[in-house]
């Protein structure tokens, strides 16, 4: 199989802007699926609304393009009703953590087996460049013409506190690392979160003078460091990459099987 075997090629070229990191996330994700040798019929991708959400139309899996912020809630219905399916849930930062924040923390709390991928470009792209809960302080956006005063979430810390049993972070510059982390997240039994910093040159980059896509990738290279690395130790202000949480905890659908046993007196 090659990556193209997982695409709905008739809908290409895709609708994302030139240099958009979301295409690289799609690229990395398909390589992870390919490396794991997963059957396309076993995969359901659910997404919400926004630039990120269009990813589900391009993959040759069962795909569910839903409403803004609710991808994880739909995914919970799919997974819980048919636990043998693999759930991939890519979301934008606004989708996952603003309008969808409640579903994000509760899916993590349940530790239901699915992979949430936060495609973090720190902006609402489709609506034209408004700040998101991941933009952070002192950023320019169409709804923050005098710079943002909103603090940002730390996706890793939020996911960890909410109970996700696998949490990782990488960037679109570190594409090989992204493939590896996605592989491990998809393979993980339980709720896994992979935050991928993904450049939006059209809105975030232009407004915040980060240059074009290549320049934004250079910034990912310069401003991040691997967990446990010398670079991170010497400069803790760098954004850490790698696996932050990887634990085995009871998974929700499996726990419910026990409920069925209790309800039936073990007769099933």
């Amino acid at each position: 199989m090659s990556v193209k075997d997982y695409l709905r090629e008739r809908y290409f070229p895709h609708m994302w802007c030139p240099g958009c990191g979301h295409g690289t996330v799609l690229n990395s994700l398909l390589r992870a699926v390919e490396a794991l040798g997963l059957n396309k019929n076993d995969i359901v991708m659910t997404s919400g609304i926004g630039c990120s959400a269009r990813i589900s139309g391009y993959v040759d899996f069962h795909s569910l393009h839903t409403i803004h912020g609710r991808a994880l809630a739909f995914a919970t219905g799919v997974k819980f009703s048919k636990p043998e399916l693999k759930l991939l849930v890519p979301m934008g930062d606004g989708d996952a953590l603003a309008i969808g924040g409640n579903h994000f923390i509760h899916a993590a709390r349940r530790n239901i087996d699915m992979t949430a991928i936060v495609m973090n470009n720190r902006i609402y792209g489709m609506t034209g460049g408004q700040f998101s809960p991941l933009s952070g302080l002192d950023k320019k956006a169409t709804t923050a013409p005098y710079l943002t005063i909103d603090n940002n979430f730390d996706v890793v810390e939020l996911a960890r506190a909410a109970g996700a049993s696998f949490v990782a972070r990488t960037t679109t510059y570190h594409a090989l690392e992204a493939v590896d982390l996605l592989k491990r997240a998809i393979d993980h039994k339980g709720f896994s979160v992979v935050e991928i910093l993904s450049q939006c040159p059209t809105h975030f980059g232009r407004k915040n003078k980060e240059g074009d896509a290549t320049n934004m990738l250079e910034l990912y290279k310069a401003n991040t460091a691997k967990l446990g690395s010398k670079a991170l130790k010497e400069n803790p202000s760098l954004i850490a990459r790698g696996i932050f949480v990887d634990e085995t905890r009871p998974e929700y659908c499996e726990a419910y099987e026990e409920i069925i046993q209790r309800a039936t007196g073990g007769k099933r």
Binding site: L7, P13, H14, C20, S28, D212, T214
Partner: protein, 73 residues
């Protein structure tokens, strides 16, 4: 591990949006944009088949085909 030998850079000109990521990060400066703002392999003989262009391409428009790949098929 046997070294990969380049067969060709398969570039989908319909899909390429000319963002330049592959060109900028190519360790051997193999790639460039043509007059249509599409990527082409200008000096394929220098390619070391690291496939970073293929991995990072946001348009899924470039594939580094190698002899090793063919054997795997």
């Amino acid at each position: 591990m046997a070294r990969l030998k380049l067969k060709e850079h398969a570039i989908n000109r319909e899909w390429c949006k000319g963002c330049g990521i592959c060109i900028h990060f190519c360790p051997k400066q193999v790639l460039e944009l043509d007059s249509m703002e599409k990527v082409v392999a200008a000096t394929p003989e220098d390619c070391i088949c690291c496939k970073l262009c293929e991995l990072r391409c946001p348009d899924l428009a470039i594939e580094v085909l190698t002899d090793q790949d063919e054997k795997n098929d």
